[in-house]
Subunit: 216 residues, 2 copies
């Protein structure tokens, strides 16, 4: 639909953020927003906002700004959110269960088709309306349902092995919650959410903050 140059991951991240800000603005009845306002809410700069958007087209009106509802649907289209995404969650533990029942995902078109676990005590139970399936049936189910995305919420020790089973089942995108780097073939897309790493980043910032900032 438009020429695809390679877009930086940081840009895509910000687009998601803009979308959230815009939806919030829409709820409050705001019709029009400038790059400046969008930047303030999203924690970036107006030039950054305009540059990010310019990779995909030209959506604003000079002298006026962006029409909120229009930009929302443009961003949804760009991010691929106009459709339903079929998701499997693997690991029906604490994180897996929390994610399964998280309404924020459904709202954006991510439908959880199944939760998988290999613990016989969990298989067959129901988590927020979704039955826990036996991990052994993953490949068969995937052939039938062709999910696009897997959320990996298993212990770190087995994450790599499970990821390989996921890839073998023909699924090309993984959201990884285990605190280990996953090694997968190049055509598989992986994003990791590593909470321990973020906490450590805070610790680093606290330790080094006072030594950097000149004392007030």
């Amino acid at each position: 639909m438009h020429a695809d140059k390679p877009i930086a991951e940081s840009t895509v991240r910000r687009l998601s953020l803009y979308l959230r800000v815009l939806e919030h603005a829409m709820e409050r009845g705001i019709r029009t927003i400038s790059s400046e306002e969008l930047a303030d809410e999203g924690g970036t700069t107006s030039a950054q906002v305009r540059k990010d958007l310019s990779f995909f087209g030209s959506f604003g009106t000079r002298g006026r700004g962006y029409h909120v509802a229009e930009l929302v649907s443009e961003l949804q289209r760009i991010l691929g959110l106009g459709r339903e995404w079929r998701v499997y969650i693997i690991g029906a533990g604490k994180i897996g269960a929390a994610l399964a029942s998280y309404h924020g995902f459904v709202q954006r078109g991510f439908t959880v088709l199944g939760i998988y676990d290999n613990d016989p005590r969990l298989v067959g139970t129901i988590v927020d309306g979704v039955t826990v399936r036996d991990f052994a049936t993953l490949a068969d189910d995937a052939r039938r349902e062709s999910p696009e995305i897997v959320v990996l919420a298993v212990p770190g020790e087995v994450a790599q092995a499970v990821a390989e089973r996921v890839v073998a089942a023909g699924i090309h995108a993984i959201l990884n919650f285990a605190p280990v780097p996953l090694h997968v073939p190049a055509h598989i897309t992986v994003r990791s959410v590593n909470m321990a790493l973020e906490l450590e980043g805070l610790a680093y910032a606290i330790v080094h903050r006072d030594s950097v900032t000149p004392a007030a």
Copy 2:
């Protein structure tokens, strides 16, 4: 202890990752590791590893590599993990509860002193050994216990307001799980974990993958 230049957030992130890889290597009885091996495991390049470490000193031996145990303790020191960090979790819902009982945090020195909620039905209950406290007592408790870090696991609609109470209570570091950008004074450090945003990044990658890669 050493001259602090401003270090990129991406570098700090990778240091945490190296630490994890090194600990894993140590468990397997590996004594020595090269920047090449460390890079392969951590999903980066050897030059990147050496450059990252070079900001903090010179920890390896030419011709030999890095002594694993030694580099582990250097990284722990750099990241500020040699000590106990006192953490409050706010929001005793699904995510808050999962985090409270997550062993990976305790292991790295992050001690959860208290979980806060404003739902009277939850206050007083016990989540994995930690009692849920009344959010109204936050400021008083903080004065007494001086926690360094708050984990914010409340609904997005109240996240900004709760963050302001946290800042007012004198806490300077926030790990935010709500899917909204937080606006805080400059001396407060915030890291956000935004899972919806990562999922959207996957959706974007899937939609744009095939149009970028020349058909095989």
